[in-house]
Amino acid sequence: NTMFSTSLLRVGSKLIGLLLTRKGHFNTLGLRNDFGFPPGLRTKTFLLGPTTKMNLFQSVTSALDNTLASDPTAVIFGEDVAFGGVFRCTVGLRDKYGKDRVFNTPLCEQGIVGFGIGAAVAGATAIAEIQFADYIYPAFDQIVNEAAKYRYRSGNLFDCGNLTIRAPWGCVGHGSLYHSQSPEAFFAHCPGIKVVIPRGPVQCKGLLLSCIADQNPCIFFEPKILYRAAVEQVPTEAYTIPLSQAEVIQEGSDVTLVAWGTQIHVLMEVANMAQEKLGVSCELIDLQTILPWDTETVCKSVAKTGRLLISHEAPITGGFAAEISSTVQEECFLNLEAPIARVCGYDTPFPHIFEPFYIPDKWKCFDAIKKLISY
């Protein structure tokens, strides 16, 4: 049954998918487009009941809608969420559920998260929105010092597990320094919270619902470039995708590719290029949960292939690829055929005009695969 529906989805995806024009790195809207998004090809779907065509922000709205309907304690707050949010993630929710459940906060990130922690401790399912991941730093103290340590320091007497923080994440083509950052590595260094990043609408809804249900404070980063670009058939009912489980999107035998969020689609193209031009079979893994991450799936895959490439937009030094690389070399040292390759952003602030040079695009990744194979 699942196989039939999956193949149906593959056929459907070719009709439904939204491919961006490929002229260099950016299309005429200034959006990054060095990758395409034919949906369904990369989705092992969890077809539960009827589905609707949704893009990423609509899948967020759908998840929040399901939550507000089933959980009377759920509240959504953040800057500008009432009218629908700057990325339209909360459109219609205030009208449907009332202004005491979907409300705006003033411009104060530290206040928003602190307030969210309090609401969660008192028993409400608090879903806070930070307008851009770049603005999350005033709230860093609240997240790391308060939210992450609440259960631990109170000996399990109190916890803020009902808190979920959502933020748009990643580069978009014209965001420059403060609308493009990927701060997952800062939070990966903090035991007590979970960090989750989806790659498309189906994963987004499932993972977001898992985060909301999870009894730990979660940060959910949404790749902002995929808000409109990624379109898939998404189940309208609620469903969850387990956290801390990486997904093997494509099996292969020669090289393991690991990424999350937008970069998965770049690596998908790289995997195709590698197959066509080099005859190299790549296994593509979507990490999905950054913290705590699924070491088993990645290590099993590297034990099989012997080569690993990890890619992310965030700067290379101290980026999450470093953690993966270090763990894999501990576990799979004798299996490795080549040094682990990391293709990441440069060690500079996210640039203004230099963005096309900065991002780890498919040609840089392809080059890395060539070097891995010929080591």
Binding site: Y137, Y346, T348, P360
Partner: protein, 382 residues
Amino acid sequence: RVLELTGCAASMVASSRSYADFTPEATFDIKKVDLHRLEEGPPLTATLTREEGLKYYRTMQTIRRMELKADQLYKQKIIRGFCHLYDGQEACAVGIEGGITLSDHLITAYRAHGYTLTRGGTVREIMAELTGRRGGIAKGKGGSMHMYTKNFYGGNGIVGAQVPLGAGVALACKYLGNDQLCVSLYGDGAANQGQIFETYNMSSLWKLPIIFICENNQYGMGTSVERSSASTEYYKRGDYIPGLRVDGMDVLCVREATKFAADHCRSGKGPILMELQTYRYHGHSMSDPGVSYRTREEIQEVRSKSDPISMLKDRMLSNNMASIEELKEIDIAVRKEIEDAAQFATTDPEPPLDDLCSHIFANDQPFEVRAATPWTKLTSTS
């Protein structure tokens, strides 16, 4: 030839008339300022000389035309990314500069093009920075939100983060004993950030020479002040810090209030807070049409009744301080300056690739910067 000479003579006659016929200075009544914890406020009249008037007119007109040109270039996709325009608020930048000197310091948030100009930047540099070219004021690396000149600390993207910086600059002024002060600006949206209140406390405790200025343009992005703030009397938010609420659409009002505030700081009394009530015609940024949270009628009304440039123009013309032809000449000269700058901004080359890694750190020796792949390294030279 005769006609040419006659024409020449006529214009000579016309310009020679200007020195004899125009009023050299005039005094205007300005709106009373609301006070918080102050016995006296700025004076109720302001004196404007002809030179000052022409200078303010030219600067405000330059800012206005520059912002409109930026709007045009943005729609043509020559400027990309984020662009927050200042038209409507010109009286604030020009008035503040009229009350301080270029050796004083100023820091503001992202709606910074006007201040970059009043603080010594040129239109060419500003526009080239918007288009991200090497002739830009930040060498093309900052863009719209990050423009800097001497004693002007930007241009800051993160809302509210610039205010504690301003206090630090003020501390340096006090420490060095150079009688300078720092003007620290923020908007009505930022007024709710915690770090603003931390800054109020520090600057008041240590009596720092800082003028806090809240540019209240009624909307924080799309949220009106009533919906975001428990108290919309931003000039009172400093609590123990004395405050003034000033009409930010009248350049003379702003100038007199700034002079008053500067005297307050320089006499060692510590910080002072000014709220400028102003208005922006454009939306929050170029991606905001600006009409979903306010009506076009409201924008039109402000434009027709309180436009800062029209107000100054009317004052000067009705007091015979300038002729309408003279002002038109200024308009034409400004237009030309903007056109030249736009031309430069469009044709100047982009910064070289080496600049991607330059100035990350201060380094005497060039050092290697890790790049996207393990075998590529770039060099950072500062």
